[in-house]
Symmetry: D2
Subunit: 341 residues, 4 copies
């Protein structure tokens, strides 16, 4: 059953699967001392700049928790949006594994601003307060919205002036770049982001993300932390080969553009349906909407998707690299049908 | 460059790679609610018995730390051999992620006995002592040795009498079954093991292990702990499909038998070489030997392998599912050549 | 310099100091197996009921973190007010030591309600969400406000219906009882609270709090957790003797009544001063007010006190067991003087 | 019932109790910003040198865990003797609270040597191994033995050459200084120790230890770590006043000399008794002995003491600042009587 529940219901992009087969040739040193992982460094440097260091890991929670640990001390706290994945969807791993306190801030659209950051950016030197050392933002956000490069630049400047570092959860960073029509570095390295979690799985990989260090001075001990966080792949070549397949050419961009286009098509198809309200700007590959609960329930029997907020009845529809126009059109038709039913 | 450094220098077995392609068909629910992971439960129950529950994870350290957490409370300690992977090769993850104290015991051969366990199995009720709640053994051991089913039965009985549970690190459990010529359950479920870490990666998978609960009464919260330990794969179908490919037929056994046979062939070829001493019984896919340091250094330029103990000059040679008789013979010839050089 | 900064600027009540001298007689078994700690159990049972178990600890953060750990599993989360001491004043210890996620809720007055709890009480069974297992409330609150017994009863019923337990941070529980004019059990044991942190230090002890288990079925391993949290006093008799001195007679009540009366006197004296606004109901021993920043700065040179919220200019004035009417009157006079200056 | 179970069965030295009363005068700023804690810095600098920084804490486990955290990163390991208090008597707190891996080494006498350290001092740069960053020694040791200053100097030089730091658990440091007849700094600051846990409770305080930083370059964040480890006393003046009472004059030395003398007296009295073997050099305030189990059991009904090793029948007798010659003589007489009974 196809659906719009999550971009990780999709499978492996054929080019990525092919790359796995190519990498499956003979022996390679394990734990990252292989030719694929070495080459991956060049690929990442090409996208993010010469100082970039990339550490492949298994999943997004792992990337976030390893990256955040590398940027912090045991007494650190992380300022983030209340809706941030690290705050609501990682089973408490940042607290449990890294001992980090998350200082979360409600936002209207999933985006921090310097004013919102300042709600939590205080108390340095006071040992009663976990020390705000990091600002973590998500691009594209969990609400399908985007920061402009200027907005991220302002956040980075604000944070750095206060001796805080900036972490970017880039689980859907390709969707952001595609939507902004900008190179990846334009809203990361070039505007002051220190460390990012690069997302591959949602954009066509089988398994593979990376802790990407843009500012080497911002981190210590990444390799030890990756191992201690149980994110060190023994046969790492196969994670790296996937990331290379995604990033060396333009597969990352083709996949993301496609997913974004499908979300736009879905929004366009749904917007005219009476009784359905699109609740967020559709800037990446997510569409959020409010519709009558009983309609949502009937529709869900035909296409899988999740509630976003059970209190308000808001639901989330995600498009993936393999969502087809036919999927979208069938879904929009079904929605219209159920609404009028 | 081929070599004998580790069984995880090998790639993906072709049948496993083929299974990935088959599983790459359409959408599947993420995070384990897919048809492959469902089917995997049956496959594991076929091997380990009807009460078995299998939780796929990314790697062996993850499997161990998730399994051990599920069996323990915050004040627990784990009795293990000093050479146990959890004690020496996991970057301190059991301590750092799970807060577990490891009560390690030196052993002659990597194997615990009831007497050795009793060196640490005491102090219950005394809050000054981290409480020994678990005995963790490895089969086959890190030294390439094997427990008999009777030995494991004795350990389990001893532990259970003291209200301790038994964890088995089965990173190379297939090699053990192949060498013992016994079903997997004969030395696990049937003799009282409560939870095991099932190893797939070293036996031909790309990435995939599992926390396998044999005694459901021994654990709580496995699914929460897997997520909190960052071991929950979003596209889990691809981990499960690999494990199915390994375990549904006899691929697990063919691969393990082959690796074991290669180790035996290697031992046989090396044993007659003057100046080389095989230091451990060769019961699985590992050969340990002492040879002159300068010979080891020269040989290492031709075939990669690791020191086991830099103090004694002991080295370790591992065979994998893809080690060929030609690899072995070439290595043995090179060793003989360097020894006489 | 006397002041209104904190009730822990005060010293030791003379009766407590005398009790230390009495307890300093000969040898006692360490770590709590002494006659004072034994007797303390009776004293606590007298106040809180026959099932009560009391575990003396060093400080309030310790009491909270030990108690919360005893009530939770590794994957638990704690619902609390955003202003809760555990959330804002414990240096992240609940996260760092216990791995707990705090699900905080903004409140108008420092008090949770069932509606506010429901903002975070959801997601059980979903491993992506740290599981809400505990509701933690503070009585009297960090804002000097009080729950009625009925309000706490409603919270406990609501929590228990959802298989959650209730923790009460009673750092200033004596002030609450004095103000409510009720026995301690009337708003704890009798209305369903499971575990509380009993505060002694702010009410006249030198050092001493206790984890007080009202519902023994709600906890496991308290003694191990107390040791593991480094809260086990070797010469525990001296902590217990202080708590006995406080609780066996009515010293706890006399001290709390006095502190509350001083806060009321302060509020009465300040309320008529033009330009000063008392911002919270004065229900215990705290007075919160907004006054011009430059007045606050001048006043602070004469009497020490803290900002509560630097954004709004709200300040906090605390009264202690040893605050005198003279202190209050001098402060009120100084305030009036500075306001008119 | 008096006995020889532990030096923390003793009470508060009268001079310390008197100091508490003196410090109980008026208001003091809490959390260490008081005149006593300020003065304590001078007192510690007098003993340990001008760079010394002292952080009062509640207990020895707290001092060790705070100090070790301040010296380490999240991926660090600590080399210690197998008998070290941090390894066997702290309920796993170093692992659970600080995430530290302890790399323990069996020793004949509780003392590390450079050779023993080298059993664990290896593997830097290998992320599979928790990184050895600290050597922790105890003076006097848990076995009542002493390091000479030269022995500690050798350990410090050895550690520093390998970029490791040295921590000293000085729970009974006064007994060591008294026995060596040397100033405290002679075997700490002057020979290269970086951080120590200074023990007060066993030497006559009610409650009070300190993290003492001898090399400020060796630590970061002590104040945050103290709070996060729940070791920050609100009414800290009373901990500091006790430490001042101990250290400003010679009370620390008088108490320690007396306890040591009582241990020597006990050893002298017991040594001639046939069937009793003193098993360790008596260099501080502890006597270890082996005697028939049934004799130990009968004797224990008259004087409390603990088994040290239930396997060998070794027992431990501790002397305290308040042990009297009469206590010793009565005990020795009872022992002789039970032996001949």
């Amino acid at each position: 059953m196809r659906g719009f529940a999550s971009d990780n219901y999709a499978g492996i992009h054929p080019e990525v699967l092919a790359a796995l087969a190519v990498a499956n040739d003979g022996h390679q040193v394990s734990y990252g001392d292989d030719v694929y992982t070495e080459h991956l460094q060049e690929v990442f440097r090409g996208h993010f700049g010469e100082r970039t260091e990339a550490y492949p890991v298994f999943n997004g929670t792992g990337a976030n928790v390893v990256g955040l640990q590398a940027m912090t001390r045991r007494w650190s706290a992380v300022i983030c949006a209340a809706t941030a994945h690290i705050n609501v969807d990682e089973g408490g791993a940042p607290e449990k594994v890294a001992g980090l306190k998350l200082l979360s801030v409600p936002t209207p659209d999933g985006k921090l601003t310097t004013d919102l950051i300042d709600q939590q950016a205080w108390g340095w030197g006071d040992e009663h307060r976990a020390q705000p050392h990091i600002v973590s933002i998500t691009q594209s956000t969990e609400l399908g919205t985007l920061y402009t490069p200027a907005e991220i630049a302002a956040i980075c400047a604000h944070a750095h002036e206060r001796d805080m570092l900036v972490h970017l959860d880039g689980s859907r960073i390709a969707n952001a770049a595609a939507s902004l029509d900008l190179p990846l570095r334009a809203f990361t390295t070039d505007v002051g982001v220190d460390v990012l979690s690069f997302g591959g799985t949602k954009n066509g990989l089988m398994v593979g993300e990376a802790v990407v260090v843009l500012n080497p001075g911002a981190v210590t001990g990444v390799k030890y932390l990756r191992k201690g966080a149980m994110q060190l792949a023994s046969k790492m070549r196969f994670v790296s080969a996937q990331l290379i397949a995604l990033l060396e050419g333009d597969l990352w961009l083709r996949n993301a553009r496609h997913a974004n286009a499908m979300a736009a098509r879905l929004a366009d198809a749904v917007r005219p349906v009476p009784g359905v309200t699109i609740t967020r700007p559709v800037q990446a590959n997510a569409v959020f909407a409010i519709l009558p609960a009983e309609v949502a329930d009937r529709l869900r029997k035909r296409f899988r998707f999740y509630d976003w907020d059970a209190h308000t009845g808001e639901v989330r529809w995600m498009c993936a690299f393999d969502t087809t126009p036919g999927d979208v059109d069938a879904f929009a038709a079904a929605l219209a049908e159920e609404m009028s039913g």
